[in-house]
Subunit: 225 residues, 4 copies
DNA sequence: CATGAATGAGGTTTCATTCAT
DNA sequence: GATGAATGAAACCTCATTCAT
């Protein structure tokens, strides 16, 4: 029976004529698994994630997951690594050094906010990893590179702002970076409980716009002289 | 009612000749279980928590947990409810209305920071609940009361600050409350990954002091005219 | 459905009136599992043994096996320990010190032969353990007591035989003990391949009698002056 | 036939311009697999052996193992057959008929002992096969030839010994052969558990020498008049 | 009130084997 | 001849939960 269906699939892919959709495509299989795993880990956490569901979602099977990744834990590590790689890659598009200081900060806040909204899995994956006290992250070979290259860019922006007498002095780039992340992260990551407690939908378009504007005011209100 | 039976039991154990260690104490058993469950849920999340471990940690047994709480999920709900009750109760000690506006804000930031540090389980429990999109919280009968009474107090502080021309106007109390929480919460809740990525211990005494000072500057820098 | 059958069983046991057959009988459950496990490990080896089959054979379920024994490996260890305890206990019935030397040796050979025939599982369990280079045995707390108390008895017999000029001198008790075991053990443990290779049934009654007689002749032929 | 194809392949690889390392060498691949399989089956037993490990150890891959041998079971059979072929071939070097009876027996014991020490895999493979009640052995086409040609040689030695009044009469060659094997086999095959139980290393050089000497004394003590 | 005994369902992982190239 | 990719079946083990006392 499985044999029949495999033949059918095989014929199908030939009929369609897509070279890439041949049954054997390791790259594609690996990616499908990683995508499904990202979703699953983001939705259920490491403990709540189910290999079975990842197999189903990815259109592959449990065995293949172990063939490629060895264990649930390893899979989680790679998913996490990719999540970091994703945001670091997106940050490349920012050119803070080419903007005037206030605009650069505005861009950074907006970028952070939008990225978190577009990638809610990043927030939950990070929460999971923090629950596990960063054990997986720590074991990754490229953690150093996880460090945002933005820090030094922010440092430059702060310096320029101070030089032009538009920004206050004595601001630590890391503290600022963390605070900007915090204002978006907490609001989005905790939107479910906050919405419940406050009795209003924090993710409604209007609420979102208000939040972005508030955050920008807070940060610039603090920085601008 | 529990008291009556406890006395009876107590007499019984004396009759039997048992030692001073009262084995039958419903209140004590319940609390021991709740304490252990809080620790377990905080450490492992809802999915990762194990009834077995809660039984062991509480010095009771699995059956008793079911006797008192019916299910893991219900137990989690009660733990969550108590966590909210805890912070609401601590907030009672703040008397924001008796302080001048800037000092009130300073107090609020410090209180939030210290409470999160003293109650790390509050952060992880909340993260777990957000992972589950607040389903447990929503089903609690007293959610309304979960809403922090601080909001209206903060509103008062902002109003007084604006009236005395020390604070800027147009600040939403909820946005400010969320931002103050965010600055502490994110830093502490994500300290493991942040410390790993930045390569320095964010929880070291000096780092903590710097963070508190930074947060205060950000918020007051924003509010003060 | 499971509930129904449990009730039925419960009623059944009451009807029969056997007190011992109540549903809850840990001792009985444990023993049933150990008996089934002994059979399974003896038949299939450690690697080939299946927890499912042990559960089925013992009339219990997989979960209970883990409840009592924790792991397949631990279960194997306990089975092994009991196998040793069994032969040591049977050896108690021998009273080599009360017999004249030649008769004592004859008794020992016969006992060994008969015990191995009656307990084929002892041989295969021991073979499994040797395949694993005695790791399980070594971790047992009472290995010292596994040492046969027969060694010193044999030593006494050899001494008496030498004193009475019936036995040769210079015989090491351990070597002799091992040799006596070897002659029976190899024949029985390898009877399948030997029978196949020689094309005759080594376990047929006549063949058995001949073997016992041969072994006795070899050992006594060696010992007697 | 294999040779022809090998040449072809060889030419092919030269044409392609590959290095001197011939990748395609069926004979070599087959042997590498058989060697690795022998090790694996000897170390882990049939049930514990892993095709994956055999592939890794042999430097080939799983698919090739199936290409050549069809199944794990068949592979085991061939490994077993080769093990028997090995000892039969080694026995060829013995010329019991050219030695005087006592010396012939001494040689046989020494040979057996040394062969088992040099080929521990023979013992464990045989144990595995006995656990499986010789099913694989029985299905081999050449079992008859597995029968040691030594039996008739031993028969001759016994006859000569009896004729020269140096050996006792009535000794069955098979029984003697089995006993000689038994004394070495049991000691070596069970050395792990015996060493553990007796608390001394039975494989230490001194212990080995003592064992060989003891075994020789037992057998000759029995045979010699 | 309290607890050891017991279990069905389902979890991660492993395995021999086959497919497609 | 040779190999990476893929898989159904089943292994060991875990879990929340319930039973019987």
């Amino acid at each position: 029976m499985p044999q029949t269906s495999r033949v059918a699939v095989s014929l199908l892919s030939r009929t369609i004529g897509e070279d890439a959709v041949v049954t054997r495509n390791p790259e594609r299989s690996r990616n499908a698994i990683l995508r499904a795993a990202t979703e699953e880990f983001a939705t259920c956490g490491l403990g709540g994630a189910r290999i079975d569901r990842i197999a189903a979602r990815s259109g592959s099977n449990k065995r293949l997951i172990y063939y490629y990744f060895g264990s649930k834990e390893t899979l989680f590590k790679i998913v996490l690594e990719r999540a970091f790689a994703g945001i670091r890659s997106a940050e490349q598009a920012l050119h803070l050094d080419e903007l005037d200081p206030a605009e650069a900060v505005r861009q950074l806040i907006t970028f952070t906010w939008n990225y978190y909204i577009a990638h809610p899995e990043f927030l939950t994956l990070l929460n999971s990893e923090n629950l596990h006290r960063a054990v997986h992250l720590r074991s990754l070979p490229h953690i150093r590179e996880m460090n945002s290259p933005l820090i030094s860019l922010i440092d430059g922006v702060l310096e320029r702002g101070r030089a032009s007498k538009t920004f206050r002095g004595g601001v630590d780039a890391i503290q600022l970076y963390v605070s900007i992340a915090a204002l978006s992260y907490f609001y989005l990551s905790n939107s479910a409980t906050l919405s419940t407690v406050f009795g209003r939908d924090l993710l409604a378009p209007k609420a979102r716009a208000e939040r972005l504007s508030h955050m920008t005011e807070v940060i610039l209100g603090y920085l601008l002289l």
